[in-house]
Amino acid sequence: MMISEIPSVFQSKVRLAVVAALLTGPKSFKSLKTITEATDGNLGRQLEILEEEHIISVEKSIAGRRVNSTYSLTPAGRRLFTEYIQLLQDLMDAAGDACGAKEA
């Protein structure tokens, strides 16, 4: 993956935070709201985008009168996110090398 090929799903901080949070296991809407500190409307929209791109999947269960949504990362989403992290690391390594060469 090149820097120019960053998937659009990772170009939003809220979406990036959601995917990073789901890396450690499924989370509810409420947990994701606490982690991302986003508003209900914004978080709902970002989750929809991630779902449309098949990065995350949602499981709905009914508890009394409430519908609980649990979000989890899909295998494709996990793979894409791993590639993105690798790209970030490569970029930082290259920047470090460039700084070293400049100093020398």
Binding site: I3, F10, A20, L23, T24, G25, K27, L91, M92, A94
Partner: protein, 254 residues
């Protein structure tokens, strides 16, 4: 590559790191449980070794030797019960989600190892004496089964489980953490265990001198100390690296 790209990459890395720190249940919080288990195991190994040394200096058939045998038996049953109780309490403390999958697998590995170890001890304490008694009675001969062969098969099974469950945690920990020193310790333990089992299989038939049999006994005692050593190594590795670092440790370097 321009400054904006580096700035963005740096911000994204920081954001991911913050989220992971907030959402990952650090497996190193379970480190005290591993240390507790190591202490329990170590105390048991020391007590059992003490009883064994006592039997070396006591004539068989005396009240003292009978008392030592009873103590050894009680210690082993108590230890099995304590291990199972410890595992049950520990399982409750491991969160269902939010733990790195690798860490969950490591916890599972220890769970299987403990249950396997207890199983091998139950074989030794309950099944083996029963089979030994059975092999000594005439019915074994009537069935066409040699009492000695029966005993050897039973012992071989017990030896295999003991060696496996004493060395497996060391070897698996070495593979997970890519640690050469732990791997060497595990392989060394496996070799010791095999030497011990072969020595004792021959000892049953009185083909080996007493000295070799005693060396076998010492090797067996050493084997008892390996699981607590593995536990201490495991907990010290957990203390040094949080779970994200463990995942990084396992990643292949280019």
């Amino acid at each position: 590559m321009d400054y904006d790209e580096i700035q963005r990459a740096s911000e994204d890395i920081e954001l991911i790191k913050n989220v992971l720190q907030r959402t990952t249940v650090s497996f190193s919080t379970l480190q005290p449980a591993f240390l507790g288990l190591a202490t329990l195991w170590l105390v048991h190994a020391l007590l059992e070794t003490g009883v064994w040394i006592g039997t070396l200096f006591t004539a068989s058939g005396t009240p003292v030797s009978l008392l030592l045998s009873a103590c050894s038996l009680a210690l082993q049953w108590l230890f099995c019960a304590a291990l199972l109780a410890f595992t049950a309490v520990w399982r409750k403390r491991v969160p269902a989600t939010g733990v790195d999958p690798l860490a969950s697998r490591l916890a599972g590995m220890w769970g299987v190892m403990i249950i396997g170890y207890v199983g091998s001890r139950v074989l030794e304490l309950a099944v083996f004496p029963a089979v030994f008694r059975f092999s000594n009675i005439a019915i074994a001969g009537e069935m066409g089964v040699s009492g000695l062969e029966f005993t050897l098969c039973n012992q071989a099974l017990y030896y295999a489980t003991t060696i496996t469950f004493a060395t497996l945690p060391l070897l698996l920990t070495a593979v997970f953490f890519r640690s050469r020193s732990v791997a060497l310790l595990g392989i060394g333990a496996l070799v010791l265990g095999l030497v011990w089992s072969v020595t004792w299989i021959f000892a049953i038939n009185n083909r080996v001198p007493d000295v070799v049999r005693d060396v076998g006994g010492v090797l067996y005692r050493l084997l008892q100390f390996l699981p607590p050593i593995a536990l201490i190594l495991f907990s010290s590795i957990l203390r040094k690296h949080n779970i994200t670092n463990i995942t990084v440790l396992r990643r292949k370097k280019p």
